[in-house]
């Protein structure tokens, strides 16, 4: 298969179309059912891993502590990490934007005259659109995680950060393999399908010059990159090709090697309800003298892409504590119903709603922070204690207030700060404030509204699409209580 023949996921998908796409998803009974089933499964499996709430909270506090401790000294840790990696012979690259990161990849590929890369699961590589960019320059970048591979063959996108292909059935996969893999029989036996995928990808592992991976945790103390996985493709990508290029967000660093332990204790339990993954792969530099495998050359690309914006304000910094476990989406009633593809972002669900505005600006992502009932299920399960509902509220505020309009103005505007502000909404809340902060005015309103309830419109926008109209009661509580008090001797009903 040549790079040109690989279907490419539609790069134009954008969070601006969230409402349209979620509308379609809500009416797709099959999709609804498969997400509900998958999320119920993951929720149940996670619950089995944390039977004791107190024990969970103790571990979660430690995980939160590790991440906050690292973020509090982030620039220092990054400098130490860079120094350690440089000593080990790893080239460290800094990328402000996805374009920067892709250029670095391309430079490396060109230097090695590579036309094929094999890639382990990496959400940051999705974030920069690596496959697409490499294909545009004649470099084939093959996904090797089974779920991602299926999607890549089909030109589809991941709908979940841990289980990317949960929206595909085994029949879908059978058809995709049959169509795209030479000699693949049409089988919907899952064992056989995985065997087909394994065989097809073996050739790629053996021939690719460059292996690409994400990183789960980086250790400043030792220069270690920790990768967490079940399939073994991550180990192959980082052991077989001559060159290993790791890419990750610059926030993923921790101070000491032992700090990885609580995070690793939390990650697979929160993600898939497993106590551990098959592999915890700790990589500290390239192949050493005398070793027979492992990459001879190693690169680490550290991507900013808006992370420093989240970092710079205390109220958004906790966003960067995230370890990408996906628990928040598994427990999210909105995600469960609209599915991951509706978001039009690399990271869907609650984590997507709080990180995407920093990566893409508040304007194009405007519908994501509001697409939450603030039920709090995400915050309950987040293994590093990110107050996700609070962040959503703060993003709603930032979208609706420019720096000048903010009461406690931030030092610098977020990208798209104030861009969601609409005169009508501002006016409505101003009117609401005047009414509800003046007792006499409100009392008059509470007297009037029940008496004018016959004027209540039968159509109340989105509310009445699925509900009867909201009408004031015939008499307000305050009136009823006043009357009750006046006629004390009369029983209440």
């Amino acid at each position: 298969m040549s790079a040109a023949s690989l279907p490419q996921a539609d790069a134009r998908v954008s969070p601006e179309d969230f409402k349209q796409r979620s509308h379609e998803s809500l009416h797709d009974a099959h999709l609804r059912q498969s997400f509900r089933g998958a999320m119920d499964f993951l929720v149940e499996r996670r619950a089995l891993q944390f039977p004791d709430l107190q024990a969970f909270n103790t571990l979660r506090k430690l995980g939160e502590n590790v991440r906050q401790h690292a973020l509090a000294q982030l620039p220092d840790l990054l400098e130490r990490l860079e120094a350690r990696l440089t000593e080990l012979g790893v080239a460290v690259h800094w990328a402000e934007t996805p374009a920067d990161a892709n250029r670095i990849f391309l430079d490396i590929a060109r230097r090695h005259a590579a036309t094929l890369m094999v890639k382990g699961k990496s959400m940051v590589s999705e974030e920069i659109g690596l496959n697409h960019e490499m294909a545009a320059h004649g470099v084939e970048c093959i996904e090797t995680d089974m779920g991602e591979y299926i999607l890549q063959l089909d030109g589809d996108r991941p709908s979940h950060i841990i289980m990317p292909a949960i929206h595909k059935t085994k029949e879908d996969v059978a058809a995709i393999f049959h169509e795209h893999i030479d000699g693949a029989p049409l089988s919907d036996d899952v064992n056989e399908l995985i065997a087909i995928g394994r065989r097809a990808l073996r050739e790629k592992f053996a021939s690719a010059k460059i292996g690409v991976s994400g990183v789960n945790f980086m250790v400043a103390e030792t220069g270690t990159l920790a990768l967490v996985e079940n399939e073994g493709n991550g180990r192959l990508c980082t052991s077989v090709p001559d060159v290993h290029v790791a890419i990750t967000g610059l926030e993923k660093v921790v101070d000491r090697l032992e700090h990885v332990l609580p995070l690793y204790a939390l990650l697979p339990k929160s993600a898939t309800g497993q106590a551990v993954t098959t592999y915890l792969n700790l990589i500290t530099g390239p192949r050493r003298a005398g070793e027979k495998d492992g990459p001879r050359e190693m690169h680490l690309i550290l991507l900013d892409n808006g992370r420093t914006q989240a970092y710079r304000e205390a109220r958004f910094r906790a966003t960067l504590q995230c370890i990408r476990c996906g628990a928040c989406m598994n427990h999210c009633p909105v995600y469960t119903r609209v599915g991951g593809l509706s978001y039009g972002t690399t990271y869907p669900g609650p984590i997507g709603a709080i990180i995407s505005p920093h990566l893409m600006g508040l304007q194009s992502t405007r519908d994501l922070p509001t697409a939450s009932s603030l039920c709090g299920a995400c915050g309950d399960v987040c293994p590093v204690g990110i107050p996700i509902p609070d962040m959503l509220m703060k993003l709603r505020e930032a979208g609706r207030h420019s720096v000048a309009e903010s009461i406690t103005p931030p030092a610098q505007a977020l990208v798209g700060q104030g861009s969601v502000r609409r005169a009508g909404e501002v006016l409505a809340w101003r009117a609401w404030r005047v009414l509800y902060s003046h007792a006499a005015l409100y009392r008059l309103f509470a007297w009037l509204a029940p008496r004018l309830r016959w004027l209540t419109p039968a159509w109340q926008g989105g509310w009445t699409a699925s509900r009867a109209a909201l009408k004031p009661a015939p008499r307000s509580l305050r009136e009823q209580l006043a009357r009750r008090r006046a006629g004390r001797t009369v029983p209440g009903r």
Partner: protein, 261 residues
């Protein structure tokens, strides 16, 4: 009347404030009347400061904290005595208890007031169960058997921690059997302005909740939050379904009436 408050501690008159919430005041006043009625029958003197309006939550959660602050500020002077502030809503209770102190973090004088109120804020079922030790001691004949489902709002569950109180309260009503429904811990889809900003998603959540409640075989359902109840009842009305929910205080009062008759 055979309802006895089993009040723990002293017998002196208990005085409480009622912060009834704007939703109850205009849209669900019967819930408020029933709250007052139940408390008074249990020997509690209820003070309803007439100048109260709203906790400010709608603006707060929509991204207009300054509007919320002004509205909340107008409530701060209304609860001067050291009495508990009873809130018949986990959601508004959560606003008073968890968010008011933060809302006034930069305003020392108001913060003291907000913190005092936060410390005294008690959700209605919590007050009944844990402060009054309420239990309806009724002869077996009182009140027909009733199967009810309990919808606990997300804020009641997470910000007020009153899931157990609602369950305990139902257990203390003889003849009332609580039935579970599927995905009971899941949100009903209300979420304040979420229900109008994303009406389709909100409707899908409400529809699933209604399906689960209907499938539970309950005769009616209760909640301690009128926001959820309006969302669910008006959705049921639109469906043309007969099932309805009521505030848990209304059920308690009805069972007291049954016990008294």
């Amino acid at each position: 009347m055979s309802a006895s408050p089993h009040a723990a501690g002293s017998t002196e008159t208990r005085q409480v404030y009622l912060f009834a919430t704007c939703v109850i005041d205009l849209f669900a006043p019967q819930a408020g009347v029933d709250v007052v009625e139940v408390l008074e029958r249990l020997g509690v003197t209820v003070h309803f400061p007439a100048a109260q309006t709203c906790c400010g939550q709608p603006a707060y959660t929509t991204g207009f904290p300054e509007e919320a602050r002004k509205v909340a500020a107008a409530q701060l002077d209304l609860f001067p005595e050291p009495w508990p502030v009873i809130v018949p809503s986990g959601s508004c209770g959560g606003m008073l208890k968890q968010h008011w102190p933060r809302l006034f973090a930069d305003d020392p004088a108001r913060r003291v007031q907000a913190e005092s109120i936060a410390a005294r804020t008690v959700e209605f079922t919590d007050y009944l169960v844990n402060t009054l030790g309420f239990r309806l001691d009724a002869p077996a004949a009182s009140g027909a058997p009733l199967r009810v489902a309990l919808h606990t709002s997300c804020s009641a569950r997470r910000e007020m921690g009153t899931l157990g109180c609602g369950r305990a309260l139902l257990e203390r009503l003889p003849g009332v059997e609580r039935v579970e429904h599927g995905h009971e811990a899941e949100c009903c889809g209300f979420g304040g302005t979420f229900s109008v900003k994303h009406p389709e998603i909100s409707a899908a959540m409400a529809a699933d909740k209604l399906d689960a409640l209907t499938a539970s075989g309950c005769e009616s359902f209760v909640s301690a939050d009128c926001g959820c109840l309006l969302n669910l009842n008006l959705s049921l009305e639109k469906r043309g379904a007969a099932l309805r929910g009521q505030h848990i205080a209304s059920l308690v009062r009805a069972r007291m009436d049954g016990a008294a008759s």
